[in-house]
Structures are given as structure tokens and as C-alpha cells.
């Protein structure tokens, strides 16, 4: 099982087309997060949603985001975070930041 990103890698979520089925919520698109781990490879729901097989399987990661990075007016603890499962084609390498 191979993936482009290792645990701890800093990644930026791509902005994608909103016209079809996607499982990358708008509120993380463009945001920078940190890879927690690679879940494995799974059929791509974006094509499977239209009757295709979703193959080849795509790497799926657990990615952690600081709540402060997602919401400009977040008033909770600085350590608060949210983890989201994201497919590799939604991710790009990002400069190392304090995430």
C-alpha cells in the first residue's frame, strides 16, 4: 500500500469542481492540514457515484486541521482540531507550517 504522503506531511487541500459528487467539504478546500495516516486505497466515490467502478483505487488519508485555521472567528482552544478523510488527488504538498 503506497501513498504519496507520509504521516506528519503538511498538505494543502485543492479547490475542486463543485458540479459533481465530492466528499471534500468546502470548508477545508484551500486549507492546510497535517496527514495523520494513510487509511489505504479505496474506489473513487466521485466516479462511482455516476455508475463507474471507481477504479483504480485511490489513496485515502486522515488529515488533521486546526479549528483556528478553518474558522476565522473560532473562539475555542488553540489545540482544537478536526480530522477529515480525504483522497490523495485533493491534496498538494504544502510548505511546512505550524499545524
Amino acid at each position: 500500500m503506497t501513498g504519496r504522503y507520509a504521516a506528519g506531511a503538511t498538505v494543502q487541500v485543492r479547490h475542486g469542481s463543485m458540479s459533481g459528487h465530492y466528499r471534500t467539504p468546502a470548508y477545508v478546500q484551500g486549507k492546510i492540514g497535517s496527514v495523520v495516516r494513510l487509511h489505504g486505497e479505496f474506489p473513487n466515490p466521485e466516479s462511482r457515484a455516476y455508475g463507474a467502478t471507481g477504479l483504480p483505487e485511490q489513496p485515502l488519508y486522515m488529515v488533521r486541521f486546526r479549528q483556528h485555521d478553518l474558522w476565522g472567528d473560532y473562539s475555542g482552544e488553540s489545540a482544537d482540531s478536526v480530522v477529515i478523510d480525504l483522497f490523495e488527488h485533493w491534496l498538494a504538498p504544502a510548505e511546512e507550517q505550524d499545524v
Binding site: 459528487h21 465530492y22 470548508y27 462511482r48 457515484a49 455508475g51
Partner: protein
């Protein structure tokens, strides 16, 4: 603009967290969808989600959870040729005519 279901972070009112009883028709819809996916293999879960997301925005906001499932299932089974709209309408007329479902 994000798809209809992609609501994270949008302004919203208070969430009604009260429990409510499951209606018999909701159980029927649940069973029919799950059977269509896992037993009959007629549709897959991603297609169901896509068909739910395709419901026009105003309808999506107005409809209940299993009402969305019902519309999505109907859309998919018609798209795949499992049933026709005419067959569904004929069945609905028959139910109306006798005044009860079962």
C-alpha cells in the same frame, strides 16, 4: 457554490435534537434502499448520495431524511431501467383508488 448537502460552516439556527418515532414508511424506505444496494446490487452508496445531492436546493431543505432517500431511490431505479415512471404512477393511482396502502 458548494453542493446542496455541503453545509459545514454555513449559518444555521438551533438544531432540534428531540428524538422522534420512526414511521412505518421510513422503515420500508430504509429496507428497500439497503436491499437495492447490498442484496440486489442495483445501486451503490455513492450513487445514492449523488442522487440525494441532486435534489433541488429548496426541496432538499424542505424534505425529511427518508423523503430524500425516497426521491433518490426513485431517480436511480428509473435511470437504471429497473422501474419506469409510468409504473410508479400507475401504482400510486391504484393506491389512491383503494384509499389505503396495504
Amino acid at each position: 457554490m458548494p453542493r446542496t448537502h455541503d453545509l459545514g460552516g454555513l449559518p444555521a439556527g438551533a438544531i432540534d435534537q428531540a428524538e422522534h418515532a420512526t414511521e412505518p414508511w421510513e422503515r420500508d424506505v430504509f429496507a428497500t434502499v439497503i436491499t437495492s444496494i447490498f442484496d440486489a446490487g442495483l445501486i451503490n452508496l455513492d450513487e445514492l448520495r449523488r442522487a440525494i445531492e441532486d435534489i433541488p436546493r429548496d426541496d432538499y431543505a424542505r424534505l425529511g431524511y427518508y423523503e430524500r432517500w425516497t426521491i433518490a431511490l426513485e431517480t436511480l431505479l428509473i435511470q437504471k431501467g429497473v422501474v419506469t415512471l409510468a409504473e410508479i404512477e400507475e401504482k400510486l393511482r391504484a393506491i389512491d383508488a383503494r384509499g389505503h396502502v396495504a
